[in-house]
Symmetry: C2
Subunit: 363 residues, 2 copies
């Protein structure tokens, strides 16, 4: 069980040499795959899919059956933690996630408690264990969580938002209340990720999806600080193996040096970031993960291959790159384009290492 | 007519010393003002408001009657240019702008023509002239346009978008077609802004609202290049006065050095940018405009004042700062908070210059 047939992904996260650049795709088990939609229809809803360890295992493995991906990622929702805190997660038809009881009153905020992941999120730990068994050592399993700030956005807004006015009004008027939520979230996320590690996750990723909506100072005080708290509380090893961590702040390209300094093993890059500049800025402190524009996958196979090669050229063949998109894959992606992407990344990065790739076209 | 009572804004754009930091607010004539909503209701629709020079003049002046702002900005829509190209701009109830005939077919794209601003956009030039007369030299009038790329986003998508999939698919599959649209747009925007200058605009601003959605290389090739083309074609002087230009790419914080190098007089900053770092990166090549998080204005008056002082501290008292928000003002802003903001910026920046302000709290 502990012996991996393909540990390229884990080695790249630890900046060790690999024969090629490993890749996986954010939201790789998702609506662009007909088999995913079939399973989801069978489950009855997205939440039922998340709550069933066997169905979560089924969809986690679907993209791996189709494509030669180098990692699996736990299929789950990023809002499981606040749901376990009692906020009442639900999905309205055709809309994003919502909470029945968003946090608006001080007494509600003061009453927040850190959920025990084995008690309140046992279905996630069961899924992690079942996926690990089903993977049978083929590729590593990534566990994940939303960041403390990203969870707080949903918890205070009660839904997605285009201006984050409730959480930002709290930030500017009652920073003490927001800090309290973030303290609780940071402990909850740490416990949740450590439980995933104990249940079998071989790497963990923290999605700071909304940190990039913050003003530069507020980012440090209300998002980065709690990301650091989570990272410093993570188990570094399990079962004799290092468990690398990845931190991804979407829209955080201006703050890469600071993110790279919080102790994580790798930093995720969105597609607006120039990989060569990113590497120059963070030095060799961390691995980098990214960063193809997900919209490339809606173009022709030839464009997919060309853009993938550009990303690989920009990162160069040095150790410490995990190929990914700069954001989750679009549901409109033709599945055959993903096959082109996977094959191009594997073949071209092998060539780069043997010195036979094209010269980079310049920045 | 040519003598300005208050030219603080223009001098700050040219990095000349001023007694205090001038300010204006993006979308300052807008739905947060009850008098605006009253005029708009009288006009019947947003587009009728834009098409009537006298009503456009009325709403342009409304925020200046309430607040001691240092500039007026032409009230208009950013999509007037593609509308003049024949795409058929309309507003569906409760939704953003849409085009009846978005650009999808090659023949439609090849048929695009640069509109004559005096013929097809005469109502805008009439508004500029009427606003200048009504301002009677009190403060300068800013003309504006959307950037070539931002206009292309709407022209190809046919509406706003959260993933820009149509325009990005064109970018990756048929860059020649997108370049053709951008060439036409760049010429159209240049002519449009020059006509505004000839009609009385004393400074111009180019809003690159969606450039920040592009991958780093695509930004240079498909947005920045055409911004540069527009800037280099702008009239630098009119009526014996310099006409400064401001370029604002929302989400462009990573590319400030490149934006500052295209020949504009000032660069707009959104709220994610650290002003002290921005100044260090662009040197003294340009003035900087920004960058308070617009959501601050939804908080308490005390928070508004504190956050405004933080922005002023971060920019420091050196010449070359125009205070603004990092994005358009929210329709949910209480009008009294804008009064607090204006008074704080004027009073505190005077103190900064006399050396009596608080020391910056550090970055």
């Amino acid at each position: 069980m502990n012996r991996l047939h393909n540990d390229t992904f884990l080695r790249a996260l630890l900046r060790q040499p690999t024969d090629y650049t490993p890749l996986w795709l954010m939201r790789q088990a998702g609506r662009y795959l007909p088999e995913y939609n079939e399973t989801r229809a069978r489950a009855g809803s997205f939440l039922k899919l998340c709550h069933s360890p066997s169905l979560a295992t089924e969809v986690t493995l679907q993209p791996l059956a189709r494509y030669d991906l180098d990692a699996a990622i736990l299929f789950s929702d990023i809002l499981t933690v606040p749901d376990a805190m009692g906020l009442g997660l639900y999905f309205a038809d055709g809309e994003g996630p919502r909470f029945e009881r968003p946090l608006r009153e001080e007494w509600e905020i003061r009453a927040l408690e850190v959920p025990d992941p084995y008690v309140h999120l046992g279905y996630v730990m069961d899924a992690v264990a079942e996926i690990r068994r089903a993977l049978a050592g083929s590729v590593p399993l990534i566990g994940f969580s939303g960041s403390p700030f990203t969870l707080a956005c949903y918890m205070v807004e009660g839904s997605g938002s285009d201006d984050f006015r409730h959480v930002k009004t709290m930030l500017y008027d009652r920073p003490d209340l927001l800090h309290h939520i973030l303290e609780v979230n940071a402990r909850a996320v740490t416990d949740y990720l450590n439980a995933q590690i104990e249940s079998g996750a071989q790497a963990v990723m923290i999605f700071d999806t909304w940190g990039g909506a913050l003003a530069h100072r507020a980012y440090r005080e209300f998002s980065l600080r709690y990301l650091e708290q989570v990272v410093s509380g993570l188990k570094r090893e399990h079962d004799g193996h290092r468990v690398p961590s990845v931190v991804f702040t979407k829209g955080g390209g201006q703050w890469l040096e600071s993110i790279a300094a919080i102790g994580c093993d790798a930093v995720g890059l969105d597609w607006t970031v120039d990989p060569a500049q990113a590497r120059a800025r963070v030095g060799d402190r961390v691995a980098l993960q990214g960063n193809l524009d997900p919209m490339v996958l809606l173009a022709s196979p030839a464009a997919v291959a060309a853009q993938a090669r550009e990303v690989l050229d920009a990162f160069g063949p040095a150790p410490g790159h995990v190929f990914n998109l700069g954001h989750g894959i679009s549901q409109r992606t033709p599945p055959e384009n993903v096959a082109v992407l996977v094959d191009t990344v594997h073949a071209y990065s092998r060539k780069q290492r043997s010195g036979n790739a094209e010269q980079p076209a310049g920045a």
